[in-house]
Amino acid sequence: MSKENSNKLLQPELIREAFKQSFIKLSPRYMVRNPVMFTVEIGTAVMLGVCLWVAAGETSQGSLAYNIAITAILFITVLFANFAEAIAEARGKAQADSLRKTRQDTPAKKIFPVGEMFTNEIKIVSSAELKKGDVFLCETGDIIPMDGEIIEGIATIDESAITGESAPVIRESGGDKSSVTGGTKVLSDRIKVRVTTEPGESFLDKMIALVEGASRQKTPNEIALTILLASFTLIFIIVCVTLKPFADYAQTSINIASYISLFVCLIPTTIGGLLSAIGIAGMDRALRANVITKSGKAVETAGDIDTLLLDKTGTITIGNRKATKFWADGIQSEKEFIEACVLASLADETPEGKSIIELAVQNGFVKPNIDKSEAHFVEFTAETRSSGIDMHNMHIRKGAFDAIKK
């Protein structure tokens, strides 16, 4: 969702697509949802009937040209309202497509119970092909492709993409901490996960559907405004219908075209026609400011906000623990201590371990290149909560206090 997506208002492909859509949206089943424009559509249909009637020889309703002109104007009004809505939706779709691209490219290591060559074979498939119940494997450094439940293993996972919390969390099978979300990254160990959502229903999918406007619920203000518009429309229906007996009493004749034109002029056609376009445009606008709103109601609430409370972790801080100083305890020299720290952290892929090496390099140490044959690296695991190195009869361990004690 970079700035390049704020494209021009009227791109040719968008216009063509919207134009086609505006005719498709003329179907009554769709128009009923918008009461104001629906009444205009009914008026257009009635006028069409009157035109045919005048063409067949009726003289009391004015000239044919007059009636045809009114019908044409009404038709264009309805069409334009649909066009505005279609354009808004098309722009929303463009945004949604870019979101969709981020999702489809994640590879998944799916475990096939009965594979081509042997059982429990692992093949790499696209995340879009994972169905509910499939089992996949995630190892250190992989991005989890779909929402799921861990059935085997324990791992530390970076969930900052979804929750914003950048300190890694530990997830393991069994118990209540076993669910993982698609789009998050495994930082250590490996886990087997069973997919728990249908392909189109993951968190990211819901956000995309929202942006596209397909499953958009009406916001509270929109509902209230629709009620107000509907009541005004009803008032004006009464005005126009009762005008006929009044005119009869006053011995003035008014033709049908005038009634319908009066009615369409009175009802709030502009607001009624553009209301749905406004709703979609609101969400689109928020998206362009890199604000993902989970519902239309949230967009409205965003307009009322005057104070924003932010959780500072991860926003103004790095969020990950970072080594800033070496504290030698005096038994060895500082140089030896730092060397030992560096050696113990060589195999530690967590941000803490990497920052230890970074700090050492900053202080002037050269990262040693240890040959794998000479030393045995003990990687950081969630279970042991420590890492280290065994080399030349040296055992160096670093980790949590109680883990080392053991």
């Binding site: 209230a224 009620i227 009541s231 005004f232 008032i235 005005v239 006929k244 007996p245 009869d248 307009g303």
Partner: protein, 572 residues
């Protein structure tokens, strides 16, 4: 001419000057604080005890409305039976017969709904018993119902969040004992000492200047007239209402009655400010209403004192203005002022025939009733205005992109739906009624009914249309005055008028009380820098705009074909 104008201005100013302390007093009474009328406490406690009312038991808005509706239904049945059998009941010195069922239906509904539309004439259509124990009685109770429902709205906004709108019975009784009764006694005494009859004897026989013998009706009128004005009821003792010298003997009583019409409605606006400790809000509301009121007064007084253009065309000077249908002791300016004040407050008493008003005065008076929220009836005026506030708050909230809220409570879909229904109802009733009547007059002029539609309209053309429009507008606004050229004691008008009055009284009470109850239940949002202020002049202007737009859009077509067309056909 100048003295007439001064008379009108003085009347209006005295009304406002009296209304402010009265508003304070009303707020104190219903807030339970000490007032100088507390000597009535033992009487009220006695009433509560024998009726089994616990004045401290609070009521949810649904309970409140149920109580209000049940007792009104009871009174309807009671009064209906009384009217039908009044010929057989005592206190009938003039031997007036019982009313026909359709007339009784209409009369009872009209008095229960505070309309007091009288398709009967007091001298012949009612007995002293029914005048006192049905009509005067209902005038007190319908006024108290309106006030009680308004106090429920006050209670809804008093606390931050509440479910308790007060106890209907205790508020109802208090509004009679502390407010209506004392004021009515004062006015009745003033009227009685100025010549209004209060006797229980039958018709009086006099010998006219020509030498004929004439029977003149009298009766216990003073008491009824006092509450008729105080409770914005409008139903007079005699058929010609306050135009008859027996009801309105001189200019002093005219001033007193004109003040009484508007006193409580204006006082209630100020009591809103005192009760909720939001004086600025009440000033804004008062300002909006007075703005329209003064505009209408200027219009009416101008046209009435200018005189009838047709008569001017004949070369006759009209130094006192258009005097057809007006009383010489009162004058055209006072009648014009009275016409505006009586339709603003949905009172409906008249001191001159409205059918003889100039076309645009008649038109303005109709617009006044169509809005029905400028001061308005006791209690219900502010309830109707509340609907306009809700719509104005909603529209302005959406215009600036904020969530609409009123006095700290969010206005959401449900409240807007109710407000829309109430607004729609008025428009529907008035226009559908007039349309049906117009249709019948045009297409079924000689239908085989007891009273043929051709006999309905005494004035053909635009004025006849105005007569029909006015009748339904008056029923919808619970006003009760009429363009009496209309033959309205016929089954069609009695029944359709009754239905309109019933719906137009209770739905615009149920609606705002429901909205207030729903809003009161919501979480309270404290005022912040971004709140839309409802007690600013800007919001007042916004409300004016909403009132003008909604009224103009709904009612312009029939107004054009009635009063406005008549005006243009009469221009010199």
């Amino acid at each position: 001419m100048n003295t007439e104008l001064i008379g009108v201005i003085v009347t209006f100013l005295i009304t406002i000057l009296l209304a402010i302390p009265l508003g304070k007093y009303i707020a104190k009474v219903f807030a339970g604080e000490r007032t100088f009328m507390d000597f009535l406490n033992p009487l009220e406690r006695f009433i509560f005890r024998i009726s089994g009312i616990d004045p401290n038991k609070g009521m949810h808005w649904k309970e409140f409305l149920k109580a209000m509706l049940t007792i009104n239904l009871l009174w309807f049945v009671y009064g209906f039976l009384m009217l039908i059998y009044q010929g057989h009941l005592p206190l009938n010195p003039d031997d007036n017969p019982g009313q026909t069922p359709d007339l009784a239906f209409n009369s009872i509904i009209s008095f229960v709904t505070n309309t007091n539309l009288q398709d009967y004439s007091g001298e012949t259509g009612a007995t002293y018993l029914t005048q006192l124990f049905v009509f005067t009685f209902l005038q007190f109770t319908s006024a108290a119902t309106g006030i009680a429902c308004l106090i429920a709205l006050f209670n809804a906004f008093k606390e931050k969040t509440t479910n308790n709108l007060g106890n209907f019975w205790s508020i109802f009784i208090k509004s009679i004992t502390r407010l209506l009764l004392p004021l009515s006694i004062v006015v009745a005494i003033i009227l009685a000492f100025n010549g209004t009859p209060t006797s229980f004897k039958g018709k009086d026989t006099i010998i006219t200047l020509q030498g004929d013998t004439q029977q003149v009706s009298r009766g216990p009128a003073a008491a009824m007239i006092a509450i008729k004005q105080m409770g914005t009821n409008g139903g007079g003792y005699f058929g010609a209402n306050s135009a008859v010298p027996f009801e309105n003997p001189n200019y002093l009583t005219n001033i007193v009655e004109a003040i009484s019409i508007a006193l409580i409605p204006i006082a209630l606006i100020f009591s809103l400010g005192f009760y909720l400790k939001k004086k600025k809000l009440s000033y804004v509301i008062f300002g909006v209403m007075t703005f329209f009121f003064i505009l209408f007064c200027i219009n009416n007084i101008y046209f009435e004192t200018k005189g009838n253009p047709e008569i001017t065309r004949m070369g006759i000077a009209q130094t006192t203005g258009a005097m057809e249908g007006k009383e010489v002791r009162l004058g055209s300016a006072a009648t014009a002022y009275w016409s505006v004040v009586t339709t603003s407050t949905s009172n409906g008493s008249v001191n001159g025939m409205h059918d003889s008003l100039m076309p645009l005065s008649g038109g303005v008076v109709m617009i006044d009733m169509m809005i029905n929220a400028l001061y308005g009836g006791v209690g219900v005026g502010l309830l109707n205005y509340f609907i306009f506030i809700i719509i104005a708050v909603f529209i302005s909230g959406l215009m600036v992109g904020r969530t609409p809220e009123f006095l700290g409570h969010k206005v959401e879909a449900r409240e807007v739906k109710i407000a829309a229904i109430v607004t729609l109802l008025s428009a529907f009733l008035i226009k559908a009624g007039t349309a049906l009547a117009a249709y019948i007059v045009v297409h079924h002029t000689n239908a085989d009914w007891a009273e043929k539609p051709s006999a309905w309209l005494n004035n053909p053309g635009y004025h006849g249309f105005s007569e029909m429009l006015y009748q339904y507008t008056s029923c919808n606004a619970n006003n009760g005055s009429g363009f009496e050229g209309l033959g309205d004691n016929s089954i069609w008008w009695n029944v359709s008028g009754g239905i309109v009055m019933l719906l137009a009284r209770f739905i615009p009470i149920i609606g705002p009380v429901a909205i207030a109850g729903l809003l009161a239940n919501k979480k309270y949002i404290p005022e912040s820098a971004g709140t839309l202020r409802t007690d600013s002049a800007t919001f007042g202007v916004m409300t004016i705009a909403v009132i003008v737009i909604v009224t103009a859009l709904s009612y312009f077509p029939p107004l054009t074909l009635g009063p406005i067309a008549e005006y243009f056909s009469m221009r010199p």
